[in-house]
């Protein structure tokens, strides 16, 4: 292992670097400079998170005390495999989407706003990484709001193309703030019961506690995070927010924001509350039901959407159902499946939304009619969309298959309210719904004729195509090589589940 100076600060670097870089961005000259800067920042951050994952993977969990203050007073960053994986994922998505953003942003956002745009993007990145990194429950709230506030602004920037972005952003703001406030209320109740905000300490102190205060706290926190991660039926903000945000923003958020929230949910359920927490059963059963309902309801709505962005947004809500389902099993396999799907779904949705972004750039619309005969007009984009669409359905050889496989495998091995076989068949059936809406898109692109006298259009710029295809290739690569996804996810899940089995600490 090579030792770089400052390596001891590694756990904090992914959060600190973008945080410091952000203010510089806003004063830059509009145009190319902020983009270059943001890309650079995202790459450096990505490198840090990769290094961090490497360290944690081979060297075990690591801890970092902010400003040298220890746990009870100071804020501590605990990085184990679970957050290292999520952080790496978030930074990787940034590293791909930021370079991609340039042309898309150029056409969708006023030039004068571009420094503000990239500033908000970087801050959003900081917030998401912070949520994943921190081991302090209140610090989570702060980072949550850092990312959310910048997200509201980013979504609203879609107003140049469609003013509905503004109302979408406003709704998102209201729902997001309520969610965050619920979280804070829950945290207050937990603080009353335990007198600490550190996740590890919380777990220690909560052990054996089962009273109304803790239960209320638990309910508030789960609901709050549920709002943020668009758990059905708290998902109403998501489709419009994703649908009207600028394409690059949608690609980035769809791949990262909800994933971080899912991680947070897992962290609270398994690390903070732990498995002996009596109330957990109720929550897990609720996740099971809500997950299944979400899978079907949202997929069903997606089938009837004519705006591809919204269709994919509903599909995201449905996919969150799969992740919740994995959590609800309460087994290592289930948790592994969730983590694998977090990773894989990020790849899938990033690719899909980036592909749609290319279409929006060249054709100027994300309505399904704009995709007619796209195979002839933009073959690269089309085939990228086709492949990632197949991945969404779960067809081999794409990562979606791995997700489905792990999830079904986990489902077979559980005892839940619903018989395992039925759960598995339901997963299969909802995949069929995915096949329907993806099939609709693919059919329109590949088998329909382009509209009469459609103007000749160029393919998307190289920067966008390259980024898009990196994602598509990742979709296939991680089918064949699953060390990083399944391997890390399994270890992370084992570590998380271990925390209550008493095998060597919560991390």
């Amino acid at each position: 292992m090579i030792h770089f100076p400052g390596l001891e600060h590694l756990p904090a670097l992914p959060v600190i670097i973008p945080l410091i870089a952000a203010p510089f961005t806003i004063v830059m000259r509009p145009g190319r400079t902020p983009w270059l800067w943001a890309t650079l920042v995202s790459w450096v951050t990505f490198a840090c998170t990769l290094l961090l994952l490497e360290v944690v993977w081979h060297g075990g969990p690591t801890e970092y005390k902010m400003g040298g203050w220890a746990a009870p007073l100071g804020i501590t960053y605990y990085i184990d495999l679970a957050n290292a994986l999520v952080m790496m994922l978030v930074a990787a998505m940034a590293a791909v989407v930021f370079p991609y953003a340039y042309f898309s942003v150029k056409s969708e956002i006023a030039r004068a706003q571009s420094p503000a745009f990239y500033t908000a993007m970087i801050i959003c990145l900081t917030g998401l990484l912070g949520v994943a990194a921190t081991g302090d429950a209140f610090n989570v709230f702060v980072f949550l709001e850092i990312s959310s506030l910048s997200t509201y602004a980013l979504v609203a920037m879609g107003a140049r193309r469609d003013r509905r972005a503004l109302t979408a952003a406003f709704n998102y703001l209201v729902m997001g703030t309520i969610g965050a406030t619920f979280y804070v209320i829950g945290l207050g109740l937990l603080y009353q019961a335990t007198g600490t905000l550190n996740m590890l300490d919380l777990h220690e102190r909560l052990a054996g506690q089962d009273n109304k205060v803790v239960e209320a706290g638990f309910a508030f926190i789960v609901t709050g995070i549920g709002l943020k991660l668009a758990m059905v039926p708290l998902h109403l903000w998501l489709p419009n927010a994703y649908g009207f945000a600028p394409s690059a923003v949608t690609a980035f958020l769809a791949a990262t924001a909800t994933k971080v929230q899912i991680y947070l949910m897992v962290r609270f359920i398994y690390t903070v509350f732990g498995f002996e927490f009596p109330f957990l059963e109720v929550a897990l059963n609720a996740f099971l039901i809500l997950g299944i309902v979400g899978m079907f309801y949202a997929s069903f709505v997606a089938v009837f959407r004519d705006n591809v962005k919204q269709m994919l947004a509903y599909s995201s809500v449905a996919q969150i159902g799969y992740m919740l389902l994995g959590i609800s099993f309460g087994t290592v396999d289930g948790l592994t499946a969730s983590f694998v799907h977090i990773f894989n779904h990020a790849l899938i949705k990033a690719a899909l939304f980036m592909g749609v972004g290319c279409v929006v750039l060249r054709i100027g619309s994300s309505q399904l009619t704009a995709f007619r005969g796209l195979a002839r007009r933009m073959p690269w984009t089309t085939w990228a969309l086709v492949l990632s669409g197949l991945s969404l359905i779960g067809v081999p050889p794409t990562v979606g298959f791995i997700s489905k496989f792990k999830l079904m495998e986990a489902a077979f091995q559980t005892t839940t309210l619903i018989p395992p076989l039925l759960v598995v068949l339901l997963i299969g059936a909802s995949s069929l719904l995915a096949a329907v809406y993806v099939g609709r898109l693919i059919y329109t692109m590949v088998l329909e004729q382009p509209p009469e006298n459609a103007p000749a259009i160029k393919e998307a710029p190289h920067a966008m195509r390259v980024a898009l295809w990196i994602m598509v290739i990742a979709n296939i690569y991680f089918f064949f090589f699953t060390d990083l996804t399944v391997g890390v996810a399994t270890q992370a899940a084992e570590a998380l589940m271990c925390s209550q089995a008493g095998c060597g600490g919560a991390y």
Partner: protein, 269 residues
């Protein structure tokens, strides 16, 4: 009955505000009103946090003079714990035994802290060790906490809290005060054993309010202000783009944009 309700007046305020705020947010209105509702809702949370930090008779958590040395060693990752309940009926001068117990504990804790710099597992072990230390001095906890006070020992605030508080037995009412009282009083720093007595004697006279919830809520207020600002900015932009900030009208316009027809029941303007 009445007493039971009245004693918890702070929670009633919080709940009333919370519900009022949420109601304002959800009931149809104009966007600015929604923002105001959101603010009321958040304010209830602020008050909630502040009340749980309050200790009856406590003063603002600013160190009163007398042991200025307490400020120096703040970097040393240690905090003193002071059971608030204990503060009321504690003998002013701790016995020598108690002092010894306190400093032993301090050493143990110091070690634990030192380890946890690098090694999380060790820290975990440390946490596991603490109960042992507690059982050893549990019966004399109040005194010990006194002694520990100036002497900068460790113990996570809540650890002590747990000892004092047995949540199952205590009602909603007692818990906050007890729980927070436990770490209600913190000072930092190293002091010579000789000065411990002084400091402890001094501190016993003053009851501080738990500062942590206040600090947290300061952060939350900043977040709330930022949210309000973004929300209002959005409202302004919506006013520019749509010419209205009434939710009904916005919805009707969005519906029209989406489906190409007017929302049933909405009036033409």
């Amino acid at each position: 009955m009445w007493e039971f309700i009245l004693e918890r007046y702070n929670y009633w305020i919080v709940i009333t505000l919370m519900m009022t705020g949420l109601y304002i947010v959800f009931s149809r209105g104009n966007l600015v009103k929604t923002i105001i509702g959101l603010n009321v809702f958040q304010t209830s949370v602020f008050i909630f946090y502040i009340t749980i930090g309050k200790i009856a008779g406590g003063t603002a958590p600013i160190l009163m003079g007398g042991h200025g040395g307490g400020h120096d060693g703040q970097g040393d990752h240690t905090s003193a714990t002071h059971g608030a309940d204990a503060a009321h009926d504690v003998s002013v001068k701790p016995t020598l035994d108690d002092l010894r117990a306190g400093s032993d504990a301090a050493e143990a804790a110091g070690e634990v802290e030192a380890h946890s710099h690098n090694d999380l597992a060790a820290a975990m072990k440390g946490v596991e060790q603490q109960p042992a230390y507690e059982t050893q001095s549990l019966h004399s906890l109040p005194d010990m906490a006194q002694a520990a006070q100036g002497n900068s020992i460790l113990a996570d605030p809540g650890e002590a809290a747990e000892a004092v508080l047995t949540p199952r037995d205590q009602g909603l009412h007692d818990m906050p005060e007890a729980g927070l009282g436990a770490d209600g009083h913190e000072t930092l720093g190293h002091e010579a054993v000789t000065s411990v007595t002084d400091a402890a004697a001094h501190a016993a006279d003053i009851i501080y309010t738990n500062p942590l919830p206040h600090v947290l809520i300061l952060t939350a207020i900043v977040v709330g202000v930022a949210t309000t600002a973004v929300g209002l900015a959005l409202a302004v932009r919506i006013q520019e783009a749509y010419g209205t900030i009434e939710e009904d009208e916005l919805e009707a316009e969005d519906y029209e944009a989406e489906f190409g027809e007017r929302l049933a029941g909405s009036e033409a303007r």
